[in-house]
């Protein structure tokens, strides 16, 4: 066996690696924060219910649409994934969101999490629920920036949302993270 190729860590089909999910034994510490990312006649996108854990934080991205003119889930799943079309650019129909730490590390909803802990924060929608006119997606940011800003970045061209940025309350998040205890 060479020095380069090694058997990878066991796939996390049964047990997620610790960076993949909030710590199961923590209830988390809510940070009373809510901010509107976008509001048009057709839709609203709001960051809400931000909860800090010892090794990251999660938030709800609340999507509401008046007529379902745009599909928030477009291209996200299965055979209709935006990647399966072999696109060498990001389709305007694809909603995307990511996070940037002050040290330059980033992660976005476009990347796949694999066997190894990402260099940047783990970032993924853990779960969500909704219907034709609404969706509450719970996003996990599996790392806490040790200092400086934590910024959300989003874009959805087809819905008229050019790239937007929002600084989250980083200091409050870090302080709350330190208070998160195991139940």
């Amino acid at each position: 066996m060479s020095d380069f190729f090694w058997p990878p860590p066991a796939p996390h089909h049964d047990a997620f690696p610790e960076w993949y999910e909030p710590p199961e034994r923590e209830i988390g510490v809510p940070v009373g924060y809510q901010a509107t990312l976008a509001r048009t006649d057709e839709l609203a996108l709001v960051v809400r219910r931000v909860i800090a854990y010892s090794d990251g934080f999660e938030f709800i991205l609340a999507y509401r649409t008046r007529t379902a003119r745009y599909n928030y889930h477009w291209g996200r799943f299965g055979p209709d994934s935006w990647e399966s079309a072999g696109a060498d650019h990001l389709p305007d129909e694809l909603f995307r969101i990511g996070v940037q730490f002050d040290d330059g590390r980033t992660a976005t909803s476009l990347e796949h999490l694999g066997s190894f802990r990402p260099v940047g924060p783990a970032f993924r929608m853990r779960h969500g629920h909704g219907g034709r006119l609404w969706w509450d997606g719970c996003y996990w940011v599996g790392s806490m920036s040790p200092a400086g800003s934590i910024t959300l970045v989003w874009e959805w061209p087809v819905a008229g949302l050019q790239i937007g940025r929002l600084e989250l309350p980083a200091r409050e998040l870090r302080e709350a993270s330190l208070r998160s205890e195991t139940g």
Binding site: R25, I27, G32, Q34, R49, T67, L133
Partner: protein, 182 residues
């Protein structure tokens, strides 16, 4: 309660059972802190994620279960189609109106089955963290809202926790109606 009208201005994706879910044209107000409802043997039970709409409260019950808990008995899921044989949650308003998950009423009813309704939305997880999601209709009057949990197989019998209704009513004031019905 037969024939109770759907609230004006509130939009639902399906008018059937509108009292069992929040309107889709509102951004709810939030109750920020988690509320520790009860401590059972080997489990702490929290009320979390309380979102307050014009028509009611969507919230989660999260049970953090000790490592040596029995996986077979520690889920919040209903045991059977209509009856919670294990974990039971009830809510009582200051005016005496009460609802319970062990008395869900007729699931095919065309109007709310009782003066208030506590509807199960979904469940997830298992030890060490189990979650149940609920919708409580309508908003409570001023006074005390009493949550009562029982979980016999976790040796928890009728643990009551009282919450000032203003916690929810203040959050309701932050609920925003985004647009009127199309």
């Amino acid at each position: 309660m037969s024939g109770l009208a759907r609230p004006r201005g509130a939009v639902f994706e399906d008018d059937w059972g509108w009292w069992m879910r929040p309107p889709v044209n509102e951004m709810p107000g939030t109750v920020v802190p988690h509320i520790l409802l009860a401590r059972a043997t080997g489990a702490d039970i929290y009320l979390t994620e309380a979102d307050v709409y014009s028509t009611g409260i969507r919230f989660a019950i999260v049970a953090l279960i000790a490592a040596d808990g029995d996986e077979e008995v520690s889920l919040l899921e209903p045991d059977g189609d209509t009856v919670h044989a294990d974990f039971v949650l009830s809510v009582e308003y200051a005016d005496g109106r009460r609802a319970s998950t062990d008395d869900p009423g007729d699931p095919d009813a065309s109007s709310p089955p009782s003066p208030i309704a506590l509807s199960d939305i979904r469940y997830g997880g298992g030890p060490p963290r189990a979650t149940g999601n609920y919708f409580l209709w309508p908003l409570p009057p001023s006074g005390t809202v009493t949550f009562c949990c029982s979980w016999p197989r976790m040796h928890l019998r009728a643990a009551k926790h009282r919450v000032d209704a203003d916690v929810f009513l203040d959050a309701a004031a932050d609920c925003e109606r985004l647009w009127l019905p199309v």
